[in-house]
């Protein structure tokens, strides 16, 4: 079979692939591993707080009661600007009310039962989204790495002259460099659609601070909200004059009557307790990639219309589909299992990619023992550190310092691997460079 690319192109493709991979590998691996774990975001929350009240549905009048109870509990502080009611869904059958200052679970009658305690799931999400850095820097960095997966995928195709011929060839039991190479290539080729979907959607989310702010600067005088308004809708004018809380039960009844196929996942109260307050519903649509459609209501319960995420322009539907496509919550448990398996595969592709480079260096007479040991440390350290934080959550509690635990464990394992390698290197070169044999 004739190769897809000329030899020289392949050689330069390999060089480009190696260069990008080496620069990105450690954080890319961390992003892939945490992304795999965060597929179970809702399930982790249920594990963290098994005693929280659960229900398949909640009566509209109980939601009114829940809102009144939460607002009454905040009488001694600054009024909240937004109030979110998470309605029971298949993935998370709980009703949770979140304001600017607190989040509480309520029971089927709307009574406050217990504060929400999901610090570990939030830590994991923040680690994946922004590497525990401030949002602008962290999300942008993650977005940049997501885009680099696209570059790695393209350069990987160019660097692989027998991509189709070898598509099913996996000599895993040879336990040598070829096995590592085969694992990397086979998993990368067959998870290519998944990797590209994850990379492009993740990069779109992460690079928003660059692309969105550039768009806002050039076309909307720096107003980011105005740039997004054509896609996700605009906020009505605020009016801070005090007003009684709206009743949301008629809104929920309207949704059940007029949109019986739509499942309400969130009810959002904007500027509650003011004359400018209004109600927004997020409704999930079955067998759609969109996270939902926005249904807008006035404070008196009058329906104002939808934004168009479900049936608006192609751009609106596309933008609304990014989140679900990225996190795999569009098809229940089977899709989640598939995302976890492919996420593990993608993590293995990143890990083996660096080992391939190290093997190549060793064949050239540059064993790079410290880097190999450090890479082993990161490969093992990241998942072990995540498990350690989970153990801390289950034993220590919601207040455990997850960020510190994660980074200390990861760095300690990496340092230990490097130290062990150096000690072994002092005894003899053979034991210092263990081959990678998956």
């Amino acid at each position: 079979m004739k190769p897809l690319f000329a030899k020289d192109t392949v050689r330069r493709g390999v060089a480009a692939h190696s260069a990008i991979g080496l620069i990105c590998c450690a954080l890319l691996y961390l992003i892939c591993v945490t992304g795999t774990a965060i597929v179970l975001y809702e399930e982790w929350q249920r594990l963290e707080q098994p005693g929280a009240p659960e229900m398949q549905a909640i009566a509209p009048s109980a939601v009114d009661a829940a809102i009144a109870n939460v607002v009454a509990s905040e009488a001694d502080r600054e009024p909240t600007t937004h109030l979110f009611v998470h309605m029971p869904t298949d993935a998370l059958p709980r009703t949770t009310v979140t304001t600017d200052t607190q989040a509480v679970h309520v029971d089927g009658k709307g009574a406050i039962v217990v504060p929400e305690e999901n610090a570990w799931a939030e830590f994991l999400l923040a680690l994946h989204y922004r590497l525990n850095l401030p949002p602008v820097w962290g999300m942008t960095l993650v977005g940049l790495f997501g885009a680099m997966i696209v570059a790695l995928a393209v350069s990987g195709i160019v660097a692989h002259p027998r991509i189709f011929r070898d598509a099913f060839r996996l000599r895993a039991r040879r336990r040598d460099d070829v096995a590592t190479l085969d694992w990397h290539n086979r998993l990368a080729v067959w998870t290519l659609p998944f990797a590209l979907a994850m990379a492009l959607t993740g990069a779109m989310i992460g690079l928003f601070y660059i692309s969105g702010s550039s768009l806002a600067q050039i076309a909307y005088g720096g107003d980011g909200d105005a740039a997004l308004a054509p896609v996700f809708g605009a906020e009505p004018e605020a009016d801070d004059t005090p007003a009684p809380l709206p009743r949301v039960a008629p809104v929920l009844r309207y949704m059940a009557r007029e949109y019986p196929a739509v499942r309400v996942s969130y009810l959002i109260l904007h500027d509650p307790g003011t004359r400018g307050q209004h109600i927004q519903i997020i409704g999930e649509h079955d067998r759609r990639l969109i996270f939902g459609e926005y249904y807008a209501f006035a404070s008196d319960g009058t329906f104002r219309g939808t934004t168009g995420l479900a049936d608006g322009t192609l751009g609106q539907q596309f933008a609304a589909s990014i989140y679900n496509l990225h996190f795999g919550n569009y098809g229940g448990l089977p899709v989640m299992i598939a995302y976890i398996l492919f996420g593990i595969a993608l993590s293995a592709v990143v890990a083996t990619g660096t080992f391939i480079w190290l093997d190549k260096q060793a064949r050239k007479g540059r064993p790079r023992r410290t880097i190999r040991a450090g890479w082993w440390g990161i490969t093992i350290g990241v998942p072990v550190a995540i498990v350690t934080t989970l153990i801390a959550r289950l034993t220590w509690g919601n207040e455990a310092p997850f960020v510190a635990i994660f980074w200390i464990v990861t760095l300690a394992i990496t340092a230990a691997a490097v130290h062990r390698s150096r000690r072994a290197g002092a005894r003899g070169p053979a034991s210092a460079t263990p081959g990678f044999a998956p």
């Binding site: 570059a151 996996l170 040598d176 768009l215 596309f318 007479g365």
Partner: protein, 191 residues
Amino acid sequence: MPGDAMLWLGCALTPGGVTILRLSWSRAARSARLNTLGWGMLAGGSLLAGMAEGAWGVAVDALFAMGTAALFIARAALEQPRSVRRTPAPIRAIATGGRGDWARGGATFLLAGPVALAVAVAAALAARSLAVGWRSAEADANVMVLALVPLVWPLLAFAVLMARGRGRQITMLIATFAAVSLPLFALGGQP
């Protein structure tokens, strides 16, 4: 054909396509007929799933394709190797790069990283200007910017890394920037 039947027929065709390709690529000689059949089943499966359930159907169908391939890969992983090649002995050590390599690497990083990203942002904004000029919906034009930056930048970065010599890398970036600047400056960034 009802939507469900079309969706599941699509999701059945796709693993069939992967299986046919597995059969075709395991042969000693290339079989154009089997290759065409395999790719055709993959494309047909996606088409049916897309016609039945839109983007959701295509996404689910792609999971079936990757899942089937994963089963074949898992089976291959368990097979005993026919022969075990000895890993070649390390060749003599080559002197590692000096300060010049770092400087060259840094310059390449700057060109493929921040400079290419800036050109990609300009390209995405230019595409938006053209779209707005052609009376595209404002939402579509704005989403185009968000979607194009993460697509154009890695492709441009890869092209820079593939270019022979610093001169070609710089020329490529300047030429791209000049090309995308024309619609951007001519049409402006109107909302």
